[in-house]
Symmetry: C2
Subunit: 552 residues, 2 copies
């Protein structure tokens, strides 16, 4: 079948969703050409602002429109990339084969809150914070608080197997979902709502499939009553190993903290900035610059006020900061050594919520456990400071990028017996190459995830991209050698695709067979998860496209 | 390719597992021709003792032997039915296409207990009680107590998505499994151990696949420390609806009982027999007979002693019992009405375990909740009586069968908002046809499963089988109309296959594609789960087989 011309495509889609809900405008195509994947940010910083633009963007308003759109694209073999908030950090929504980006945010109703079964039915395009607000108004909470909550959607959470900051109590999104409605390009509809888990568990197969099998229309999720009380606290551990042991003991005692996080020495400084004051730490030099940029303190109103009052001084400070940062990241092995030598203890944050009496009791029990494992009480103020600033860290990437550096995070997971090995091996692998720090969050009875932050600097975008890739290759190799899971909650996207294929081995073939059955023309987010061949892009096809204004 | 002769098959398998670990003997082939599926029991009662015998039985001793065996069968297109304890109640292991039943019970080692990550690695053939004993000896428990625990295996639990009696706290087997080693007929091996959950979640796809994709070799399961204390209690609710509300309130309060079960009026009498005395209930007549046969009281030592002392009286009593039972089950609508009219309250059992203080506290909190919802404290003695007799009920089927009746159980599940509708609709559908009672166990925050017991009587096996099938058709239709899940923890087998195909709709096609990729010749437990065509049996192929003694 001949490929549709752009006009034919736009005409066809307009007939389904209405002409005002289809766009081929250049700004739209640029906006939908990438998500928050740092590698795509490197492209942009180098001037390559739309490496993978879609042919067009469509905004269906109903499930029926969406199903018709999928059938149309199936019939004409047009690639479809489902799109929620675009907050992914792995390139999952980058339309590398062009086609239509289907933004689902017009379908955002909270359809039903069931106070009997304690569930909410919600459309895929609903913004995370909007859902939480709607639930709060009725006395409920979802308990899902990813740091992207203000710019991510329910559909995106499910597609990428998202985890929130309170997952130790409430679980990951795959633990919260009871069922979904999913549309497939063949016109079929899967509806697993109102059913309790049975086999085969299709819900769990769609969760994490990143739009490669079908498009999630809506979901039924478990909800909880709003807690009466919340209590946060901070702890200091002299050695990271003691902190591990404390986390493990706490989870295995059967306590259910909403938050349990342990920071390695340098990440401890970053996490709470000046709040976690250490008189021995130097403010100046490469480490000080890194800390100033990454830590919350620099985001405070004081810094903004000083910048407003004294633009000249502020500009000079900026330059000094940039130079210090660049020099620090140019010699990562040294910077890592300095960071390790910093006399900072490891910070832990604990949080409990629920009925007043339950929270008081569990907080007390957790104190007993942590004191026994060598923890020192660092008071509630630091704990509450963490809570206030818990979404801030994700928004610092751009700041770093503006200073010429790249920064990324890697969330891997394994059982407790291998956690220390995983931490050390990844550090050893990355240390010569890039600055690295880590914290331990999303704890379970049987194990925990590690959230590494990498940062690097290279003068131009091409070299920065190579440096970024080399760093990741080392980190991925080390993770797979330990036998850990490569993706705990950020998804796979373009970023971890080859690593995931190594992790999944022979099952990749099974996945492809399944995909071929559900999406026979391979139109759903093509080139992602486990593609037959990893083709970077169809540049020629793109070049042929007219980047003119929006069609009829 | 020509089908192997029996001699060629036995020679091939003997070369892999050793001649003493292959059998074609008639007793073995009869023994492995059925599991505990009541329909197969009806066949046996009618004299049809080996409707679906395998061509032979093999007992591999190692993972390598098992993989070689699978490859051999793949090459020669010989059906393979993985077999653990044979305690399934849905016909999952009935070798309807002949071939080799692969009994995995020689592979039964508890390979490793990891006290750090709190996991156990265990081979698939390990008996459930043996695993629990081994864990107990080291101070741990799995927390998985299906009533088949004495005659089921870890591999069988995983293959059928088993649930234990303490699932409200510890979860179903799919919640306990971290990873598995699975052998496929193509020679591939899937090893998901030591990984934390990621996507796609192969572990959850294999759990519940009933041997149709691959053969489970071993699993890594989560374990817990042995509890310090346990506390059981019984409650009475005047109306079933109050009991529902109590269960729901208890689960949604965030308490974690190990046991939370509610019995409808007649099942309340059955569950605890004479312990749950009600002076108004008559011992004689059809209801009395049913109660006597089904209730635990009749299994007590007193009954056995009286039978030994007075065989004549015992025989006369038996005859009376049989007649009463048959007459009761011949008029199910009337018997159901009598059972409903019995002035018996609904019994609830609660149980907590853990640290001493925690158990005391949670038991107290649960009392507050249940009293508020209209429960009356029925003391701890009845609760403990339930605990003592918790495995007994599954062993009464044979007793009923011996009296000429059939009995079966159906475990369905749905969310709380539909639970009462599900209960009523299934009762309405079955009431004219068979005796029916139910209890509610395996409670979740969002819903609960219902465990129905059906009983019927027809004079001869053919009519009994038809009656059995008609009863099930009505029950399945009612369940699917409410939108509930047809199989909560008994699996699918041959029994619920057509109902499950209706439940899973268009996804059946996806499943078949997946199976074709992993098992290209379709040798793994053929004709089960979602077969291309539901063929009952290849009788002719069977007839050709020599039913002689064990080969070389």
């Amino acid at each position: 079948m001949a490929r549709l011309t752009q006009n034919e495509l736009v005409r066809g889609l307009s007939a389904i969703v209405g002409p005002s809900h289809v766009s081929t405008s250049r700004p739209d195509r640029i906006a939908y050409s990438a998500d928050f994947w740092p590698k795509a940010q490197i492209w942009k910083m180098g001037g390559d602002i739309d490496r993978f633009p879609p042919d067009c963007v469509a905004w269906p308003g109903t499930f029926d429109e969406t199903r018709d759109l999928l059938r149309f694209c199936h019939e004409h073999q047009v690639p479809v990339v489902p799109y929620g908030g675009g907050s992914g950090v792995c390139g999952g929504t980058v339309p590398i084969r062009g086609g239509v980006v289907v933004d689902v945010k017009r379908m955002r109703k909270v359809t039903a809150v069931d106070p009997i079964s304690m569930t909410v039915t919600v459309e895929a395009g609903c913004n995370g914070q909007h859902l939480e607000d709607a639930l709060n108004a009725q006395g409920f909470t979802l308990g899902h608080f990813p740091s992207s909550i203000m710019c991510s959607t329910v559909g995106g959470w499910l597609a990428a197997r998202s985890s929130g900051q309170f997952s130790s109590k409430y679980g990951k999104i795959e633990d919260m979902v009871l069922g979904m409605e999913v549309a497939f390009p063949t016109g079929e509809l899967l509806d697993t709502r109102f059913r309790m888990p049975g086999a085969p568990d299709w819900t769990q197969l769609i969760v994490g499939s990143e739009g490669t099998l079908g498009l999630i229309l809506s979901a039924e999720l478990k909800i909880r009553p709003l807690p009466e009380a919340r209590r946060f606290r901070a702890w200091r551990f002299r050695r990271l190993e003691d902190g591990f042991r404390g986390m493990r003991a706490l989870m295995q005692t059967g306590l259910h903290p909403i938050v349990l996080r342990l920071y390695d020495p340098f990440d401890s400084l970053i996490a709470l900035g000046k709040e976690h004051e250490d008189p021995g730490a130097k403010e100046e030099g490469p480490l000080g610059a890194l800390r100033n940029i990454l830590s919350n303190a620099t985001l405070g109103p004081r810094a903004k006020v000083s910048a407003a009052l004294s633009p000249m001084t502020h500009a000079a400070k900026k330059t000094a900061q940039r130079l210090a940062l660049q020099s620090g990241l140019s010699v990562p092995a040294l910077t890592n050594r300095l960071a390790n030598a910093a006399p900072s203890p490891c910070l832990m944050i604990t949080g409990f919520e629920g009925a007043e009496a339950e929270v008081a009791r569990d907080a007390f029990s957790s104190s007993e456990v942590l004191l026994r494992e060598g923890g020192q009480d660092a008071g509630s103020r630091l704990g509450e400071a963490w809570l206030e600033k818990r979404y801030a860290v994700g928004f610092k990437q751009t700041k770093m990028m503006n200073l010429g550096a790249w920064v990324d995070t890697m969330e891997v997971a394994t059982t407790w017996d291998r956690l220390d090995t995983l931490y050390r091996r990844v550090r050893e692998a990355v240390t010569p190459n890039a600055f690295i720090m880590a914290h331990f969050s999303h704890a379970y009875r049987e194990g925990c995830s590690i959230y590494f932050t990498f940062a690097g600097y290279r003068k131009d975008a091409t070299r920065a991209e190579q440096h970024y890739e080399r760093t990741w290759e080392r980190a991925i190799d080390a993770t797979l050698e330990v036998g850990a899971t490569l993706s705990h909650h950020h998804g796979v996207g373009l970023h971890k695709m080859s690593g995931m294929m190594r992790e999944h081995g022979g099952m990749v073939r099974a996945w492809r067979a399944l995909k071929a059955a559900l999406d026979p023309h391979g139109i759903m987010n093509p080139g992602k998860l486990f593609p037959d061949e990893v083709v970077e892009v169809d540049h020629d096809a793109m070049a042929e496209m007219d980047l003119g204004p929006s069609a009829p």
